[in-house]
Symmetry: C2
Subunit: 242 residues, 2 copies
């Protein structure tokens, strides 16, 4: 919240460099260029592990150091989906690499354990709660302990004081309102605005607790800086709407 | 199946080097040493992404090249949990790094898409189906399309001709039998034998289609070679039991 206020921005830029860009050096250069061009307009970056797979420890650390130098935070879009000592290993490495938070895919359960272990490494956990691709409904809207899966996750995230929840911007407003009733103190990381067609309902509901992720429409734009500014202003306007 | 026959082994050795071992060089050295010591007794290795996070492209490629030189295969225990173009990026990199297969965490659905995309990169998908930690029951035994989650996953894996399914060795035998009725042609990757207390029921049911993963009890043993031989023989005996 402090970083958002300082930057006057709720924009998170997703660092998803396409494999076509090249090997580790080219991917790192690409990410660095995006950070240099957009850090005035956003408060946070979200490197997706799948896109930066070829980068090693020192390259990821270099990227996160730059992000912090610009006064921004770094969320690892890792979708961690293990338990126990495996998660401890991941959290230990992600923390050493300089990430401030990570995304968790709660398919194996263990939301409480992951939040507590991450806290020991000074990291926040943002748990996948509701995605908007149709097949995500199998589990996220399946019946878990008598309630829809996404509501069960939200209850656990709230009960164990998780930092946040991932909720797709293209989800319908009824589901968003239902989550708003449960997630009373969490940050909401919302991908899908822009190229994926998502609107700003999520921002109108969660207001200053929303972290809006835009990736493709900024990082592949001919002028990433101008495009990031556009989203910064768009989001700030939506927060102020009654 | 060919690699298992050639090696007369259904043992997969999980490469889970603890963070305490050191930085990227120390982790790579550790994995290489384990491969050198155990490749006579197993047909496959399973590096877990969370444990080798600090390794970059060239280090992972070096490890997989060695594994192939020894006549073995390499499964990335990646628990991929994304969709669409993000999964394509991951599959492209994992394939370039030399992995033959990967694990998929089907929380976002898209099992068919992932199997088909992976096939384009020459990789097999082994889908998380039933884990044995108690909280995995929330989703894996939740109600999805009218059936328990794990059965729904197994139906999809079978329908879309996935390479395999991950089924914990510590799962109860009723669940294992239920999966056996659905997964008529898949390989079963089964972790949990050894240090995690799992028995060999899974091998007795799925016979020569079982890939038994042992990690801790081999890689932290004072004599990894001898310990791998012990498991090779133990598993081969269980396959032959009536």
């Amino acid at each position: 919240m402090a970083a958002m206020k300082k930057k006057n921005s709720q924009l998170c830029v997703g660092l998803d460099p396409r494999p076509e860009i090249g090997g580790p050096d080219a991917l790192l250069d690409f990410c660095i260029t995006i950070v240099e061009k957009t850090s005035d307009c956003c408060f946070c970056y979200k490197p997706n592990t799948q896109y930066i797979l070829p980068l090693g420890f020192s390259e990821i650390k270099e990227l996160n150091d730059l992000i912090h130098d610009k006064g921004c935070l770094s969320i690892s879009d890792h979708k961690l989906s293990d338990i126990g000592s495996t998660n401890r290993a991941a959290l230990s490495w992600l923390s050493s690499m300089g990430f401030d938070a990570l995304t968790y895919s709660p398919f194996p359960g263990n939301i409480k354990e992951t939040i507590e272990t991450a806290a020991g490494y000074g990291m926040g956990v943002i748990t996948l709660t509701l995605m908007s691709n149709p097949e995500a409904d199998y589990f996220m809207k399946g019946v878990v302990q008598g309630v829809p899966g996404y509501e069960f996750i939200a209850q656990q995230v709230a009960a164990f004081k998780g930092l946040g929840a991932v909720v797709g911007a293209t989800c319908n407003v009824e589901d968003i309102n239902r989550l708003h009733a449960v997630l009373t103190h969490q940050l909401i990381l919302s991908p899908g605005v822009g190229a994926q067609g998502g609107g700003l309902d999520i921002v109108r509901v969660f207001k200053e607790r929303t972290m809006v992720n835009v990736s493709r429409d900024i990082i592949t734009h001919e002028n990433p800086s101008e495009r990031a500014r556009y989203y910064q202003i768009l989001i700030n306007s939506a927060v102020k709407e009654m």
